[in-house]
């Protein structure tokens, strides 16, 4: 779950990390309720889950309430790279002297927290030279210790005062603790600002909360989402469902097998429109729910690729059959079924008019041919 900037700032505040004075404006008509929390000059910032909002006009300045409200009005409703702006965050404009960068993320290789720190902030970290980024690995068995802060601050050039270094070291420890206690996958401060009067302060926030930890992270609601409505519906049902650019719906059991099915389809020129992973289920009801989601995505045809292990092919087939019989399927279905109770599954689906194939390659080839035909027919 990605947090909007203002939520990330709340998270920082809870962690003791200094943030500029500011207020969240969920909609224009509530402006009066936040007025007394504003201080000018102020920045009015679009709350969207996408970078580059400044260039897109999503960050504006204001010197008084009237201006702030006018800017908010201008920004709310904007479309920034496909993201509609629904709200703004208004905060005091900082008198920034230097912009730094810090983030925590999960390093898969070492299986530790990786803290990146650089004196070059305010830009994408990818554009900063490697030798100007400190990479600090933090073992979960010990947590953050002062030597981690020293390792990070070692990349600072001359000209940082003792007090600034002290504030930074403190903030790094707080960031790590927040990264853990809020179950983050990413927690970034960019820019990490040092003001002209020497205050170290988080000028922006980027936070991703680990979806698997949502059950114990209830403080933040998902206010903006990159998921489509259908994807959200699927998530709620515990089904891995992703909408893609093409038109063919792919159903398989297991994430790896589903990806492999997409890949095979692509090899033959097919274009997948839905990734639907049944996972380990062979509960016909769950399969039927998945089929219904697939129908809603209106695929031009459906490719079912099953490998039955502990999962039984026939019970999966029952779920598919049920939707087919009771609710109908208005597109061709290509099946490839292999493994446990393969024969029984084929028997169940035999008079449904599905196209049966024996290998993934055959199934993918068949689908691609059908898709080309459909496109021709439409044309």
């Amino acid at each position: 779950m990605k947090l909007l900037e203002y939520q990330g700032k709340q998270l920082f505040r809870d962690a003791g990390i200094p943030i500029p004075k500011g207020a969240y404006l969920p909609s224009l008509d509530t402006f009066d309720t936040i007025k007394d929390r504003l201080s000018y000059p102020a920045v009015v910032k679009a709350q969207v889950l996408i970078g580059g909002r400044g260039k897109a006009g999503g960050i504006q300045f204001a010197d008084n309430d009237a201006e702030a409200k006018a800017q908010a009005k201008k920004i709310i409703g904007m479309d920034i790279k496909g993201h509609e702006v629904k709200s703004v965050y208004i905060e005091e404009k900082l008198d920034i002297d230097r912009e730094l960068y810090v983030s925590c993320l999960i390093d898969r290789t070492t299986r530790k927290t990786l803290m990146l720190f650089s004196a070059e902030g305010g830009i994408e970290i990818e554009s900063v030279p490697e030798d100007k980024i400190a990479k600090v690995y933090i073992d979960p068995l010990t947590g953050f210790s002062q030597f981690h802060a020293r390792q990070a601050l070692a990349v600072l050039p001359d000209g940082y005062s003792k007090d600034e270094r002290k504030q930074l070291a403190k903030m790094l420890g707080q960031l790590y603790d927040a990264f853990r206690s809020f179950d983050c996958e990413l927690l970034e401060i960019n820019p990490l600002a040092i003001t002209k009067d020497g205050q170290v302060i988080a000028a922006d926030s980027k936070a991703i909360i680990n979806d698997a930890a949502k059950f114990r992270q209830k403080k933040f609601e998902e206010e903006a989402s990159e998921y489509t409505e259908l994807e959200k519906e699927a998530n709620a049902q515990g089904i891995a469902f992703i909408q893609l650019d093409g038109t063919i719906g792919v159903i398989a059991n297991g994430a790896g097998l589903t990806m492999a099915t997409l890949d095979a389809l692509n090899e033959y020129g097919g274009n997948a429109g839905v990734f639907l992973d049944l996972g380990g289920t062979d509960d016909p009801d769950q399969v039927a729910r998945a089929m219904r989601l697939m129908k809603k995505a209106k695929p031009s045809l459906i490719l079912v690729n099953l490998f039955g292990g502990i999962t039984k092919c026939d019970t999966v087939a029952k779920g598919i059959r049920e939707v087919f019989e009771k609710e109908g399927l208005d597109c061709p279905v290509v099946t490839r079924i292999k493994g446990t109770n393969e024969k029984e599954a084929k028997e169940i689906l035999k008079d449904a008019g599905f196209i049966t194939t024996n290998t993934l390659q055959d199934a993918a080839k068949k689908c691609s041919e059908l898709e080309k035909q459909q496109i021709k027919e439409v044309a």
């Binding site: 290789t109 530790k112 992703i242 994430a255 990806m259 090899e267 996972g279 490998f307 292990g309 993934l360």
Partner: protein, 293 residues
């Protein structure tokens, strides 16, 4: 021999009395696995398929000498279960549970490693050594045959396909390790390669990778360094996955230009690893190199 699991392994199942635990204790026994104990707090004294259930892993280990723990415990309690198993002194922990908070996984993976415990998973199907008559986890038993190939994989069903194709081609397996599809794995490709390289019976190694992270690239580098002298074959799922989407597994995500299938394929090929276009091609590659077992 085999790696991780041998016929001497004694298995305790954490989360024994749930639906999944009960079913798979039966399936494992059928395969030949020496399941010696179950654990469900508060259900000590019961039994599942004639296997005694204990209240704690400590007790189970004390009473039965179990040295491998299989964890089916639900995600919110999985970390507690793994720490309990490690402190109880088992040598191997296999975690099937999916959707475990990633910081919990980091905690228990690092603790197990520090204590010299081999951890497989989380979010994995388990492991099987068919020649030793042992499988621990949820892998389907009927696809395996004893033979010379070691398999390490990030994906469940996809691996079953590949193993099944190997078996159908007459090529058996020493051990199949399901490493899991989460970003934080207890055992990664390099560690699996070390195990298989050291195992005399393993003559060839199959790696089933997917998009996300750089474990495949690191494995390729490890192979290229000369530390692996056995032939390695690979399949990588997710060549057509779009950027920024988690493809079913928490770890299967291309971020910017990082974690692409293309990068992994290139790295493997540069290290002399044959990369298959379709999962079942692996069996043909191996057969061409080794002949049927």
């Amino acid at each position: 021999m085999a790696v991780v699991l041998t016929k001497d392994s004694k298995v305790v199942v954490q989360g024994a009395t749930g639906h999944q635990g009960t079913f798979h204790i039966g399936a494992m026994k059928t395969f030949g696995t020496n399941v010696v104990a179950g654990v469900t707090p508060g259900k000590g004294g019961q039994s599942v398929h004639d296997i005694p259930v204990f209240d704690s892993v400590q007790e189970a280990v004390k009473e039965t000498g179990a040295d491998v723990s299989l964890v089916f415990v639900p995600a919110p309690f999985a970390k507690d279960a793994v720490l309990e198993a490690v402190d109880a002194g088992v040598k191997t922990v296999i975690v099937i549970t999916e959707h475990i908070p990633v910081h919990d996984a980091m905690d228990f993976v690092n603790y197990a490693k520090a204590k010299g415990v081999t951890l497989i998973g989380p979010n994995c199907p388990g492991a099987a050594s068919p020649g030793e008559n042992i499988k621990v986890g949820i892998l389907p038993g009927m696809i395996f045959e004893p033979g010379p190939i070691g398999i390490a994989s990030k994906s469940g069903t996809l691996t079953y396909e590949i193993v099944n194709a190997l078996t159908e081609a007459g090529i058996g397996q020493t051990t199949c390790l399901g490493l899991g599809g989460d970003p934080c794995q207890g055992t990664n490709f390099i560690e699996a390669l070390e195990l298989f390289q050291a195992d005399d019976e393993t003559k060839g190694i199959v790696l089933v990778g997917e998009i996300g992270g750089t474990a495949e690239e690191e494995a390729a580098e490890y192979i290229a360094s000369g530390k692996v002298t056995k032939p390695v074959y690979a399949y990588i799922a997710g060549r057509t996955a779009p950027e920024g989407k988690k493809m079913g597994h928490a770890g299967a995500i291309v971020q910017g230009d990082k974690g692409t299938a293309e990068s992994k394929q290139k790295a493997f090929e540069a290290a002399g690893v044959k990369v298959a276009k379709f999962p079942t091609d692996i069996a043909q590659f191996v057969k061409a190199d080794l002949g049927s077992a």
